[in-house]
């Protein structure tokens, strides 16, 4: 029987060859993730249940990254709940500030997620790991509590939708532009409760960093997963792997609910305008959109290649007078690499600030909150009303290249206008 990659991975974790869309299953998970916002509820539920020990201390990851380093007293309390639980349960993969990074950049970097894995995370952007050819999906805190207890999770098997990208990308066009274009095309519920599968020659040439960016935003089209089949680029990234893994590929006869084919040869850099990630326009159509702030970072675009592109554009330039440029590396490893390569010097000399890893401003937590009437261009993933602060502020979303170019001019600008 032919199956898609999603149906095979979910099947393998229920002891079957594959499962069918619409089926309800209870599957064994390989890894469960929580952060400083979602894990405190999960830990409270775990304790309320009367459970004493987690199902497997090596299959739980706790990352205080959203409001950490703690932005205030109440956040500090939430982070402390994680630290104490990790100590009590001897959870090895607890990442204190100093080792901490933004979870969805950190877990692949630490090789905690591998191809073929079934991963749940109490964070919607858990779908990022689909870029490794795994089935990774966001769940809630109660789901996480349940996984702590018995290592299982319930799933409704999603139908799969295939996206095939053909052609050759123009200069400055990246994985971020592909995913923004896709969400603009299908809408914020265009893949509601589906597994998106990204494929085609353009995906085959994308770096792992850009693939993570694409899978990361599958949730912004309503998808349960955003999967890219593992290939040589994936294997180079995960090897040497700390444990065995299995590569799953979709069968040629597998059933897709829909197949979208895009020729992306003429695609311009894309920008999502307020207040939905689907409100996407080519950068050239946006004239005179004045900015107060630019943020480069997040689980979507805070990886080393993102910082390299931004630094390349900003080198020897100054950010526009009165504009705040905030650059946030996603992990400590990326931070150190950016220091070594001189990227930090470029950002600081340009008039930007360089922060410790945190989700911070992306969700309006800290480190760059917008007040009434302010406008920000961010390399993050959501631009809902009030996402980064005041409900009377505006967030635009773009690639690091567009963000860096715009920081220089103070208006939304294509990178080809600078370099």
């Amino acid at each position: 029987m032919p199956y898609t990659i999603a149906e095979k991975i979910l099947g393998a974790h229920t002891g079957k060859e594959g499962v069918r869309p619409g089926e309800f299953i209870e599957a064994k998970i390989d890894l469960a993730l929580g952060n400083d916002i979602t894990a405190p509820i999960a830990i409270a539920e775990f304790r309320k249940s009367g459970a004493k020990k987690v199902f497997d201390k090596n299959k739980i990851v706790l990352v205080p990254d959203h409001f950490a380093p703690a932005k205030d007293l109440r956040s500090a309390n939430q982070c402390k709940v994680l630290a104490e639980f990790a100590r009590e349960q001897k959870i090895k993969n607890y990442f204190e500030v100093g080792c901490m990074g933004i979870e969805h950049a950190l877990l692949p970097e630490q090789k905690l997620v591998l191809p073929g894995d079934l991963i749940i995370g109490a964070d919607s952007h858990t779908c990022t790991y689909g870029a490794l050819g795994s089935y990774a999906t966001g769940v809630g805190s109660t789901d996480l509590a349940r996984a702590f207890i018995d290592g299982k999770c319930w799933f409704k098997v999603p139908a799969s939708i295939k996206f095939v990208y053909k052609g050759k990308l123009r200069k400055w066009v990246s994985g971020k532009d592909l995913i923004l274009y896709t969400i603009g095309n299908i809408g914020v519920d265009g893949a509601l409760y589906k597994a998106m599968e990204f494929s085609g020659p353009v995906i085959g040439r994308l770096s792992m960093d850009e693939r993570f960016t694409m899978s990361n935003m599958a949730i912004e089209a309503g998808a349960r997963a955003g999967i890219i089949e593992a290939d040589e680029i994936t294997l180079k990234y995960v090897r040497p792997a700390p444990r065995k893994f299995k590569i799953y590929k979709s069968d040629s006869q597998a059933h897709y609910e829909k197949i979208y084919e895009y020729d992306v040869s003429h695609l311009e850099p894309q920008v999502a305008c307020p207040h939905l990630p689907s409100n996407v326009k080519p950068v050239g159509e946006l004239k005179n959109i004045k900015l107060e702030q630019v943020v480069i970072g997040s689980c979507t675009n805070g990886r080393i290649s993102d910082l390299r592109i931004a630094a390349k554009i900003l080198k020897g330039k100054k950010v526009s007078s009165g504009l705040r440029l905030i650059v946030i590396p996603a992990t400590q490893k990326i931070y150190l690499e950016a220091v070594k390569e001189g990227l930090v010097e470029t950002f600081v000399k340009a008039g930007g600030v360089f922060s410790t890893p945190t989700c911070g401003p992306c969700l309006g937590g800290h480190m760059g909150i917008l007040t009434e009437g302010e406008r920000c261009l961010a390399t993050t993933n959501r631009n809902f009303i009030g996402r980064m602060g005041s409900p009377a502020s505006e967030v635009y979303l773009s690639s690091p290249a567009v963000a860096a170019a715009s920081a220089i001019t103070g208006r939304i600008t294509g990178p080809d206008k600078i370099l």
Binding site: D72, Q78, S124, G140, K152, L192, L363, G365, G386
Partner: protein
């Protein structure tokens, strides 16, 4: 379970930042979260809500983040059920897991702000008393009904653990 209340109408793609802004996620208390429910998009909503009232929305309700604080905030605001044309995946799970009553109703557009509804959750039926209209919805599969009737996911799991 029968729910009777007045309708508070919302559009499509109501996201979790609309339901409860991230700055309030330093709390896990439903009543505290509830006191900020929908404040960015519908100031004044909370003053109008009476216990038993019902949210009726368009497609993709609860899109965005995984925060379970969103269904908790809705419960804490005094709202007793949500009807929408469709729900986002994680919100759907969370609502089941914490026991926030909800139904998918294709004809949600025919219901207006202030209408009085009676919902029979186990039958999946919706009666609009103001407009004298009846709707039948697809009941949840047995597996999900078991989670809800057993008082949420954790109780469901406890009962099955040897």
């Amino acid at each position: 379970m029968i729910i009777k209340g007045k309708v508070h109408k919302f559009g499509s793609d109501i996201n979790t930042d609309d339901i409860i802004a991230a700055k309030y996620l330093v709390s896990t208390d439903a009543r505290e979260l509830g006191s900020h429910c929908m404040e960015n998009i519908a100031p004044g909503f909370l003053q109008k809500v009476k216990p038993g009232d019902i949210i009726v929305a368009g497609k993709n309700f609860g899109c965005g983040s995984s925060r379970e604080h969103a269904p908790l905030a809705i419960k804490g605001s005094g709202i007793s059920a949500v009807l929408a044309k469709s729900f986002a995946g994680i919100f759907f799970r969370n609502a089941i897991n914490i026991g926030l009553p909800f139904l998918e109703l294709e004809n949600a557009d025919e219901i207006s702000e202030g209408d009085e509804l009676v919902i029979d959750l186990s039958a999946g039926s919706v009666k609009n008393l103001t407009r004298n209209k009846n709707y039948a919805t697809q009941p949840f599969p047995g597996f999900l009904q078991d989670i809800v009737t057993e008082g949420g996911l954790i109780n469901y799991v406890k009962k099955r653990k040897v």
